[in-house]
Symmetry: C2
Subunit: 347 residues, 2 copies
DNA sequence: CTGTTAGCGCGTTCAG
DNA sequence: CTGAACGCGCTAACAG
């Protein structure tokens, strides 16, 4: 049709009124007669007028958008977080500007900078694995831009944050194993320099104490990265004389590896050995036997984080030195065959 | 630290130069001495100056951001598309504004409107299932904003688009079954009012002709929505006298249901019946037997779409009435046990 | 209830 | 090489 952007001015000229009148009419200002409001809106429609958000934002110093930085978007967990975030921000009228750090610190810093340049109203971030320095986040705080960390957070900073309750849920998981009669519980954990795994490990250790079980260093594996490693480790464990009767894994992939190896070694699950995973991946209900796991709630984590952020954005002026929250989202134990000894098998 | 935004003007005052000089120095304008450039940059850094993108955008009518609308972000497929998109747009200096339609037409229209208001440089969209009317997209075209459809496209519009090659890949899948000696091939398809399934169905039908196999209406199931339905249907099929010897499913979930039922009925896969899925979900390599499937390349779909969009953005003025492309991204057959009759079993 | 005026922060003429 | 002045589109005082 046409190239020329039609502005508020064009509408004003068309109707022989001032631009302010048009502006006010379009935003439903109270001091405008209903007649002119209607007239203006009709004209705007007719002329095919599109408001220019940018100009408005410049004027009132607020672009209604929120920046989100995360390590990688293409994981079930993260994409569900975004889903949860969007559920809150969309109805509130905010756009989401999404950036990936790709687990790289420099990218993360760049992302922060780019979001600040774009005048976002607030920032939500899940830290990259590389991130140890938090100066870039401090910049955000110094500029008084609301900030919320989610999932991958940092202890170096006093900010709002929302995380999965790794610690308590692991205690619950180990307690469940204990309740099923397992007394020699091993752990295959992801690298504990990552908070998530650190907390699960701590939960494991404390749960042992709670259940008055003895800790055996030979059954504690830190830094297990994938299925292959899990398989190798399992093989080794069960070639020793003193073997565990349950294995808690900090991820379902790891648990799958364990399960496969046990099957291959003809060790019965859950009778001889119990196996428990974490994250409740889709495949966990079709493994042989089906896999008990811990289901996280990424959507809730996202929603909570978004709610907190919106709150700080709204109350930016009111409370100056408010207290920062740390919210723990409670996951759920999903008990399936791989740890069910005392009851009849499910399904 | 401070509340006050520090602007180009502050830097200018600080150095006793004009704002234009600062502006030019910061953008590396050629007619500025290196000395002053350096001086200005130093000062900017020192004063902790952050450029205001919004003001700049208003000035030159371009906000470097791209709008993305999709039905739901929390699927493996879609989040991988975004990953692919980001891979292209990030280095090019564009922000991504992401919106979800939640498979709802009104939301989609609203999203378009909101993105237009935000003055995005271009829009990428994957249509909601509800969308039959495309007036909102026509608006985008009329305003001369570059537009690319991906995955869920429409035939009503002459625009650039990028899709998975459902048709040809299905032909390849059926041909593979044929090559394994399967001659009575059934299909369990998702609802064919959705393009994706329509094309897979058409591929199936044409493949039968190509292989000179007879079409049997009793073996064609349209609108299979989930695993449960797949299980029921499978049960029914194999209670009849005339049974197929292979089942092609337009999704892995469906295939899983089929597999489970066949196992339960003690019908041997792949010996008696072959089963093939589509989309290569993570669980497909741990089913019993492992499931042959078709692996799509969502990241490539995203990247391709993004590249085309950037191209149109750059060349906006040059070529006025350019031809619109439709790119088919070729998926890959993943052959596993469930369809491997003639060769030794894999793994 | 409406019009006039004055910027928001930046880039870009036009003059030196 | 640099400065003065204007305007992008919109909103918010300040008048009437």
């Amino acid at each position: 049709m046409k190239d020329e952007k039609i502005t508020i001015k064009d509408v004003a000229n068309y109707l022989n009124v001032s631009t302010s009148t048009v502006s006010r009419a379009l935003t439903d200002h109270h001091s405008i007669s209903k007649k002119t409001k209607l007239k203006v809106k009709k004209a705007a429609e007719k002329l095919n007028y599109t408001p220019n958000n940018i100009a408005a934002s410049l004027r009132n110093g607020k672009l209604n958008s929120i920046g989100v930085i995360l390590p990688k978007i293409n994981s079930t967990f993260m994409s569900n977080c975004i889903f949860g975030i969007e559920k809150i921000t969309q109805p509130a009228g905010y756009n989401l500007i999404i950036c990936q750090s790709n687990e790289n610190y420099e990218n993360e810093v760049r992302n922060i900078k780019s979001l600040l340049d774009s005048q976002v109203s607030g920032i939500m971030i899940s830290l990259s694995n590389e991130t140890t320095n938090t100066d870039h986040l401090q910049t955000v705080i110094d500029k008084d831009i609301p900030l919320v960390l989610f999932d991958r957070t940092s202890d170096l900073l006093d900010v709002d944050s929302v995380v999965n309750d790794d610690y308590k849920s692991t205690i619950a998981a180990i307690s469940h194993l204990y309740s099923q009669g397992y007394k020699k519980i091993a752990i295959l954990s992801g690298p504990t320099h990552i908070y998530v795994y650190k907390n699960r490990m701590q939960g494991y250790l404390d749960a042992l104490k709670l259940c008055k079980l003895k800790k055996n260093e030979d059954w504690i594996f830190d830094g297990v990265k994938n299925k292959l490693e899990a398989q190798a480790i399992t093989q080794n464990i069960f070639n020793e004389s003193n073997t565990p009767d349950a294995i808690f894994c900090t991820g379902d992939n790891i648990a799958l590896g364990v399960l496969q190896t046990l099957n291959k070694m003809n060790i019965e699950v859950p009778k001889t050995v119990g196996v428990m995973g974490y994250s409740n991946d889709t495949f966990s209900e079709i493994t042989q036997p089906t896999l008990s796991s811990v289901e996280q709630h990424p959507q809730d984590i996202g929603s909570n984080a978004a709610s907190i952020l919106l709150e700080s954005i709204e109350n930016k002026k009111k409370a100056d030195k408010k207290l920062h929250k740390k919210i723990y989202v409670k996951p759920k134990l999903i008990i399936r065959e791989s740890t069910t000894r005392t009851q009849t098998y499910l399904e």
